[in-house]
């Protein structure tokens, strides 16, 4: 049954991405669809699960299975209908990376430059495969010895999944303010994804939460590779993939069953798709970006800040654009909001109707003047938080120099690093960090405790985006000549 738990979300996610990208000629879209398959599929499962429980309460489990199986059949049917009579999209061509490997091994390759390029990409691909296998070994080792994950996973994320799974009629217990540590107003993508696997398997499979973790991390890694390979060069993409696999923060937190890696995935993917949507003026990509941003809000509260930043950035660009008519701009904003609608409405429903008491912000009993005082009239606290940001970002043992490279890319990267809306990434990273700076000020918890337990982890949410920006800003190396994308000059 665990196979079903894997196949249904993966197929739903893959086919939904194919459907959303059907009119968007993105390079290597099959790779993007594969990258999106699990995260998007698990996001859909989680939303269906939540609403099934809201509607059917004690029969929530059965309704979830029924709805998802129906959705699965519809998606398969639509796919078969769409591809009926068309030639198979699966090509026997070895693909760009494999092509480079074949060319590198082929003694008849004429050009010395292309031979060198092929060898370099071949070596980068082999290094990536080696590091990926090494990471997988590390992941299994960690999981086997710590199957219940970190503190929050044990007593918060997976506890909520148990409320969904054990006695469906009592699922609303997870919103009870007496329940310690469980933040009743928190979004539920991860508990839903975990509960989905358990419901399908019929028991609390210990291995399922780590599978969810692994799926999100691999998707994040291949998302970074996809974007950079498709828009910079395969060398840059593979190098970024290798680097991501060696950064301790990503490696460690991907084994803890926390929601931070899923959130990082949704932040990164929503930002990338917004950039591509703005470049191509493709409304379907706006819809997709909105959906992913909405799923980030359904993953963690921090996602709400991100939705705000992403929406404001996108709206500002559209409003300033002179190459689009007012009608086009309106339609793109509506598509973005359309993507946001379901996940964001779910978050609002969970917060306003179910988790109304005992929340950290909503239901905390504080008013606007309290927040203003916390934010602007505590200089010692502000200084402490700013220093922590500085120290934590430059910790080599955690980041392996990622933020220093980001700074180098930002200040002295390629001369085209902000062209073609590439600045969006830098602006969003600044927005994410600023959001956390604010949250640390207004959090009801002791700032020292908050910094100790969560600041480093919060910094990870924008880190994959920082990596994407950095590897684009340092300029392409071993780039094959292609006319389709905005090209970065090498120096």
């Amino acid at each position: 049954m665990i196979l079903l738990a894997l196949v249904i979300p993966a197929t739903l996610g893959f086919l939904s991405t194919r459907f959303l990208l059907r009119k968007s000629p993105l390079p290597y879209s099959w790779l993007l669809s594969s990258v999106m398959a699990f995260p998007l599929g698990l996001g859909i499962c989680s939303l269906v699960l939540f609403w099934s429980y809201v509607i059917a309460n004690g029969f929530g489990r059965s309704l979830t299975l029924l709805v998802l199986i129906v959705l699965f059949i519809i998606a398969m049917g639509l796919q078969i209908k769409a591809s009926w009579g068309r030639p198979s999209p699966i090509s026997l061509h070895p693909g760009p990376v494999l092509g480079n490997i074949f060319n590198a091994l082929n003694p008849k390759t004429n050009s010395r430059t292309s031979l060198f390029r092929n060898w370099a990409i071949t070596l980068a691909a082999l290094l990536f495969v080696y590091l990926f296998l090494h990471y997988t070994y590390y992941f299994i080792g960690k999981v086997v010895w710590n199957i219940y994950g970190g503190w929050d996973a044990r007593y918060f994320w997976n506890l909520k999944a148990k409320f969904y799974f054990r006695v469906p009629a009592e699922w609303k217990g997870m919103f009870n303010p007496i329940l310690d540590w469980a933040h009743p107003d928190y979004p539920l993508l991860l508990p839903g994804a975990v509960a989905w696997g358990w419901i399908t398997a019929g028991k609390e499979l210990l291995i399922w939460p780590p599978i969810v973790d692994y799926a999100f991390f691999c998707s994040l890694c291949f998302l970074v590779i996809w974007y950079l390979s498709a828009h910079v060069s395969w060398w840059n993409g593979l190098l970024a993939g290798c680097y991501l696999l060696t950064v301790h923060m990503f490696r460690f937190w991907s084994t803890t069953q926390y929601a931070d890696i899923p959130l990082t995935f949704f932040f990164t993917s929503a930002a990338i798709l917004l950039l591509l949507a703005i470049r191509s003026k493709d409304k379907h990509l706006f819809l997709f970006s909105g959906l992913l941003a909405g799923l980030s809000a359904w993953t963690k509260n921090e996602g709400l800040f991100f939705v705000l930043w992403l929406g404001l950035t996108g709206a500002a660009i559209l409003l300033r654009s002179r190459s689009m008519t007012r009608q086009e701009k309106k339609s793109m904003i509506l598509y973005f909001l359309g993507g946001l609608l379901v996940p964001l409405a779910t978050v609002v429903f969970a917060k306003v109707v179910l988790g109304v008491k005992g929340g950290e912000y909503i239901g905390s009993g504080r008013n606007l003047s309290d927040y203003i005082r916390l934010l602007f009239f505590d200089a010692a606290k502000t200084k402490f938080i700013a220093l922590c940001f500085l120290v934590f970002k430059s910790t080599y043992s955690q980041w392996q120099g990622l933020w220093i490279l980001f700074l180098a890319g930002l200040l002295a990267g390629n001369r085209d690093r902000f062209k073609d809306y590439r600045w969006i990434f830098a602006v969003l990273i600044a927005g994410i960090e600023l959001g956390y700076f604010v949250i640390l000020h207004v959090s009801p918890n002791d700032p020292k405790l908050q910094v100790e337990t969560s600041l480093m982890r919060l910094m990870m949410h924008g880190a994959a985006l920082a990596m994407v920006f950095t590897f684009e800003a340092i300029g392409p190396l071993f780039r094959a000549q292609r006319k389709s994308d905005p090209v970065l000059s090498p120096g």
Partner: protein, 161 residues
């Protein structure tokens, strides 16, 4: 014409070192990232335990102890829903070990909700021995109704006289 050519030549000569520096910086960044990757790579120190892995892959609990499994004898006699008080040797606030145990028990007994405050009509007393349990019961206004083992059992709130 000649002046223009000389100006262009001077400009190109000035541009060349700048271009070389930019190229050096560009290749240097790629190279330094490659070096960072190779430096940061370190073999995993954790061995994958074959028995534990087999348990996980077969979908059984195997050698893994469920969180809060110490409370297994209570689970059978507790209702499947509602809120109960859970008392330990001392109030758990500020004590990380007691808090972790409390949360593990919450995990095990879910969807029953545990309240660490002595306010619910019934609950569980889970102390190290009878002496501590009796002291805790009298200070919180409960009485033991079903003893499970030393210092542990089901309790109900005493009626106020």
């Amino acid at each position: 014409m000649l002046q223009h050519q000389i100006t262009e030549k001077i400009k190109n000569t000035l541009r060349m070192p700048a271009r070389s520096l930019a190229s050096l910086w560009h290749y240097g960044l790629h190279l330094s990232i490659l070096v960072l990757i190779l430096i940061n790579y370190s073999p995993s120190q954790l061995e994958i335990h074959p028995v534990l892995l087999r348990n996980l892959l077969s979908g059984t609990q195997g050698s893994y102890k469920p969180l809060g499994a110490e409370l297994a004898p209570f689970k059978a006699i507790l209702p499947q829903k509602g809120v109960i008080t859970f008392l330990m040797d001392k109030p758990r606030y500020g004590d990380k070990e007691l808090t972790e145990f409390f949360l593990s028990v919450q995990n095990f007994l879910c969807p029953v909700i545990l309240n660490s405050e002595p306010v619910e009509p019934h609950g569980i007393i889970y102390c190290t021995n009878d002496d501590i349990a009796n002291a805790r019961l009298s200070e919180t206004g409960y009485q033991m109704v079903a003893k499970q083992s030393a210092g542990k059992g089901i309790m109900i709130r005493k009626r106020r006289t």
